[in-house]
Subunit: 480 residues, 2 copies
């Protein structure tokens, strides 16, 4: 079996052929990492500035503390608002005038600023992205305007009941764990946010040790490294902003075998009422026989948005390949069991699928469907039943083969896009430190046995299931 490419932090240069492209990696003495994948024939490139800081790294509850809830996402917005050499309008026009696809996103364990541009526009995009990430001024005026924008973003999300269900589901399954919190904070924490606290969060957390620059497509590695070092004012002997205390990256902790602990100030996991007893250590056994938990949110609606699931797998869990196949069979497409039983045979929903989300020290597994309130009880029953059937009887040979084909085909198609490859580099670097090329990862999926696949379903089926329903749950007396 082919091994993944390892990305050790003390290896300054690395070069490897991956299916479809040449991968190169440079680790600067400051801790800054640059990874590129050159794709033959590409006339454009995707460039990402990734910072290994996400919503989980915020201090919670203490509203006046640096890094209060939502501050990572608030900061992401503010990095578009100006540096000493570019105001917000200059940043916006620099992307718009070249027709770039560009945006930023805040996740639970990282933040990313990216652009996809034509080959001739790469240098310009790198310059602006680097300036934004390292030199933003966070002006007080812009801070107050952006507070309004973020409150509108939260209001928009609050009107999307599938979004609401998703946030409630993470909170319900992961309980007090920092990964359970909504990424954007809530209107109260955003109204209470102070500019100086967000600025402190920026100064303390954005650092060469947490910054990973990745690019894929028509990209020249040496040129990119040179350019990033120049904009960041880094020489091989010099650290970027040496006055800052370097926050060790999550991956550095993982690589060193350290236990990942919640960010300072986060309450310890305690299994409080309504929260699930989640700890920060991976693989903890669940207390058997716990009662299923049901979280109902009454909202005027045509559909009930239903999520049922439990704790899933960590990103480094060896069972993730078996899970990929199990998830494909259970709810990964039109031929999957959930889609067939809920939609195709009974017409109970338009959308029905299963999913997994994995992080460094926790994960969730879930099943989603949107359905009329009077059908919610049956859809919930069918979802639980299909999970149990998979746990009891496993998958068929035909399903096994189809899932492998689906994963191979969809992965190959996804890797045609430079943004997928750009993201893969960053997630490997910030995550497990293992970079799988397509063939190596397909070998891992193929090596998972039918029994291992059944065992993953059984693992989830044996855990207490959490049910979240958002919508007119009262209309038909839905009780989970």
């Amino acid at each position: 079996m082919r091994d993944p490419i390892l990305l050790p932090l003390d290896l300054p240069e690395l070069e490897a052929d991956l299916s479809g492209g040449l991968v190169r990696r440079t680790v600067h003495p400051s801790g800054l990492r640059v990874l590129t994948e050159r794709m033959p024939g590409a006339r454009s490139a995707s460039i990402g500035f990734w910072v290994g800081v996400g919503s989980r790294d915020e201090q919670s509850e203490r509203e006046d503390a640096p890094g209060s809830l939502g501050s990572t996402h608030f900061l992401e917005h503010l990095l578009f608002k100006g540096t000493p050499s570019r105001d917000a309008y200059a940043i916006a026009t620099s992307f718009d005038r070249i027709g770039a696809e560009h945006n930023a996103l805040t996740a639970k364990e990282y933040t990313c600023y990216y652009a996809k541009v034509r080959d001739a526009d790469i240098d310009g995009a790198v310059t602006v992205l680097a300036d934004m990430v390292t030199n933003s001024t966070l002006s007080t005026t812009e801070f107050e305007i952006e507070r309004g924008v973020i409150l509108e973003e939260l209001a928009m999300a609050a009107d999307d009941l599938a979004d609401v269900a998703n946030e409630r589901f993470f909170e319900a399954v992961l309980g007090e764990h920092p990964l359970g919190r909504p990424i954007g904070g809530n209107p109260e924490t955003i109204r209470a946010a102070h500019r100086d606290d967000v600025n402190q969060h920026y100064r303390e957390r954005y650092d060469p040790t947490t910054l990973v620059v990745t690019a894929a497509g028509a990209v020249d590695h040496d040129r990119l490294v040179e350019q990033v070092l120049a904009v960041l004012n880094l020489s091989p002997e010099e650290r970027w902003h040496t006055d800052r205390v370097a926050a060790p990256a999550r991956r550095a902790q993982l690589a060193a075998g350290a236990t990942v602990v919640p960010a300072p100030g986060a309450p310890a996991a305690d299994g409080a009422a309504g929260g699930s007893p989640v700890t920060e250590a991976a693989g903890r056994a669940f207390s058997a026989g716990a009662e299923p938990r049901v979280h109902l949110t009454e909202r005027p609606s045509e559909q009930v948005n239903l999520m049922i699931g439990t704790e899933g797998l960590c990103a480094s869990d060896d069972r993730r390949f078996a899970f990929g196949i199990m998830n494909s069979v259970l709810g990964g497409g039109m031929s999957s069991r959930l889609f067939q039983e809920i939609r195709e045979k009974r017409g109970l929903a338009y959308t029905a699928y299963s999913f997994g989300a994995s992080y460094s020290d926790a994960g969730v597994f879930g099943m989603y469907a949107g359905t009329a309130p009077e059908k919610a009880e049956e859809v919930a029953r069918l979802s639980r039943l299909e999970l149990q059937k998979l746990a009891d009887g496993g998958i068929t040979e035909e399903e096994h083969e189809r899932a492998l084909g689906q994963i191979a085909g969809s992965s190959a198609l996804a890797l045609e896009d430079s943004d997928t490859r750009m993201g893969r580099l960053a997630r490997a670097e910030l995550g497990s430190g293992e970079l799988y090329d397509l063939d190596a990862s397909l070998e891992r999926f193929a090596a998972a046995t039918a029994e291992e696949i059944r065992e993953v379903a059984a693992l989830f089926a044996e855990r207490p299931l959490t049910t979240v329903a958002v919508g007119e749950v009262d209309r038909a007396g839905f009780r989970g």
Copy 2:
């Protein structure tokens, strides 16, 4: 200036170099058209079976008539439900086991069934798509199950207030015109739909004259033509399903200079209360001085979804290139006027943009923003003001240059995807019959003068503006 490639219906074979690919087109004596664009180096392909029949072609109001509202979309669902040689599960597995990206969509003037697959899987995907489009059985059992699925799809859309605002906006601007109707029908028409009527709609409308097969990527034109003819059981001398009355394609009508009229049974445009006086003929002058029209829909929400606009341009309107630039400047990106004035300077919304939608004989122009109810009045005022300022003063040189750069860059990036090229072929074939390659279309954009751009803004600003607001409009006494 480079001319577009013309696609006359009486030209059986055509071959042309387009920037990035070789385009070939075959018109079969039956009327069937096959267009391909081979992209050098591609390892996958996007394949679409397009039928020139959309929701506008349905007969309206008479619930028991063939083709009642929503039947085109209902039919699209049913084509996944089985043929004499493949049941619904076989269709689903045939796509899933190769990891295809596949789906279908119903629009106002066409329906499309598509798949993106690896090169080795092209033949298989073409076989299944062709079988679905030409041989579906529309079983009564599947019809009843799918009725439930579609009702859930409509319920899902009804919970999305931006979706609701969009449908209301088209109805309000286009009035009784068949293009003003919601694509999917409504719960009443779907509950009343009869299998035999949808079947008749299928038998009468799906025909070689309305079918256009397009593909882009690693595709072999001759092989595709041969395969499609074989599955459709067509020889050069033979018509497909000769017992059917061939419905003339919209484009054939346009090419012949015929006036496009609403589908039989649709009420004549009459400017009834609440509807705008839209006729089926393009370019009709508006009665000056008509009162602005406001349509409020009260729904519990955090945000008001606001759309303001008026009739826009037809797909064949020469002013569409000037409009593209005007739209980029007004609301086409982070540096656009609406985004700057509403979001960046005042923090009143997370999303603010302008848009156009063009059809063979009508179009709409609109501005969208989502905002808190108490800010809706100001956002509406600012949107109207920015349109008026553009109508009065035109655009700056810097904006002009930036818009051209944005269109050039974003078009080049979009055309890297085979699905964009596949769709471009079909829309040209089903629409104006003119296929612009990238350079030719950029020349048209560059040729639009600043005065022509201002005149398009003035055209819209002089028409009576329709305002649609969906959400808690009463909360702050919003009156438009």
